[in-house]
Amino acid sequence: MSISTIKKDYLVKLSKEGRRVDDRKFDEYRPIKIKKGIIGMAEGSAQVELGNTVVLAGIKMLLGEPYPDSPDKGVLVTAAELIPLASPTFESGPPRENAIELARVVDRGIREAKVIQLDKLCIEPNEKVWVVFMDLHILDYDGNLFDACSLAALSALNTTIIPNERFELGKNEPLPLDESPISCTFVKYGDAIVIDPSLDEEEVADARLTISLDKEGSVRAIQKGLKGTFTVKEIETITKIAQEQVKKIRKFLGDKDGKNKKEKKG
């Protein structure tokens, strides 16, 4: 019997008593900490801590060519690196499927909710547009990279300044942003469905679901992962919990931004 089977049995046993390995409730998120603008060389940056998971998102902007099917829009490029510094299981080298899936899910959440007003990033149609590079660096891996990276990406975008001066295009200005979707990830092991999985929970999980909701509570992106399955009923439960939790996270982010602004004014 491998270690993970023992761990799984233990976590499933705990879940039958309504408990999680770190004593959280099934619908309880870990504490979120956000530090914005910590990388001076980047156009925007943010470090997010989700419990013991730490990720760093950096935004760089360069001039480039638009895609032929959207000649008057800026370009968004998202990449995630699972660097060996973050976990004994991460290896160096080109991104593998886990890193690719992570980057694409974060990208989709941001792209589909139209967080960045890409139409305002055109300088000359067909010729020159802003390319926004969003790079996600995992620093410490304790589960739920999807939500941690989405939050870091959003927070970093919030601090992003378009470097117009460096390219002699006038004055620097903030990146034009719209509403922001918040993503919530759940995993299922045994009969338990828990929010914001820690590494232990991710390792024993049968199935995973990430759902991204906008301000109105509409769904913007979904990704199911792993080999296990969900029933329609379970999906209903998940969406309900996600609605509540996203509200809480949004309130937390709002309060934080409000406080920052006050501090700046003072």
Binding site: S2, P68, D69, S70, E97, I100, E101, A103, R104, R108, R111, E112, A113, L209, D214, E216, G217, S218, V219, R220, A221, I222, Q223, K224, G225, L226, K227, G228, T229, F230, T231, V232, I235, E236, T239, Q243
Partner: protein, 240 residues
């Protein structure tokens, strides 16, 4: 691109004349390849997909083996000529993500514990793409797995629901995918309605999401009947 520049629904009919809940015509042929252990050719609307299954066979290199179960390794690949602008051959980020979610979806129904240390390789080749290729790929892969005699809990099936002109529609066309408001592919085990794959991008209200889920599960069941018919066509006589 203005999303409203094309009117996608006129008088309750879609751009290709379908009703919102109507799937495109599907044709499935079973066992069309000689070398493969199981295979399937599927046409779905304008999509043309061919799938080969090899295995169970030894997974190499050995360190990738799982001593408790087989791995299901699906590879989704688009032919360079299958899309409008030539696709550079080889895996890109999109196809690698699709390969991953497809492998996971198929693993959900295979009795993998019967074949420790083995791999079941599923090669999905998209020859002509007209939106919904991952659904077509999974649907065809399911038939190919059955053709290969792999023990399955159920024959998985996949379809997509989307939103165009504020209407929920099943099995999107290319135009509906490009100019529509949402796209949600799903794969289920039709007997139990367990969800094997679920992805979504775009914009759906909670109500639309719940209704869409119901609609697309119904559509999956229709596709499932076509899969079963194709398998019965090939193997029905041997059942006596």
């Amino acid at each position: 691109m203005n999303k409203n520049e094309i009117q996608l629904i006129k008088k309750g009919k879609r751009i290709d004349g379908r009703r919102p809940d109507e799937i495109r015509p599907i044709d499935i042929q079973v066992g069309i390849l000689n070398r493969a252990d199981g295979s399937c050719y599927l046409e779905w609307g304008g999509n043309k997909v061919i799938v080969a299954v090899y295995g169970p066979r030894e997974l190499l290199p050995k360190h990738l083996q799982d001593s408790t179960c087989a791995k299901v390794n699906a590879t989704y690949n688009m032919a360079a000529f299958s899309v409008e602008d030539r696709k550079r051959p080889g895996p890109d980020r999109r196809s690698r993500e699709i390969s991953k979610v497809t492998s996971e979806a198929l693993s959900g129904v295979v009795f993998t514990e019967q074949f420790p240390r083995a791999t079941i390789d599923v090669y999905i080749e998209v020859l002509n793409a007209q939106a919904g290729t991952r659904c077509a790929g999974i649907t065809a892969a399911a038939v190919a797995l059955a053709d290969a005699g792999i023990p399955l809990r159920d024959i998985p099936v996949s379809c997509a629901v989307g939103k165009v002109d504020d209407t929920l529609v099943i099995d999107l066309t290319k135009e509906e995918d490009n100019y529509g408001q949402a796209d949600m592919p799903i794969a289920i085990a039709p007997r139990t309605e367990e969800i094997l794959l679920l992805q979504m991008d775009g914009h759906l209200t909670m109500e639309e999401f719940n209704t869409g889920l119901e609609l697309v599960i119904d559509a999956c069941k229709k596709v499932s009947e076509i899969q079963k018919k194709a398998l019965l066509n090939k193997y029905g006589s041997s059942l006596g």
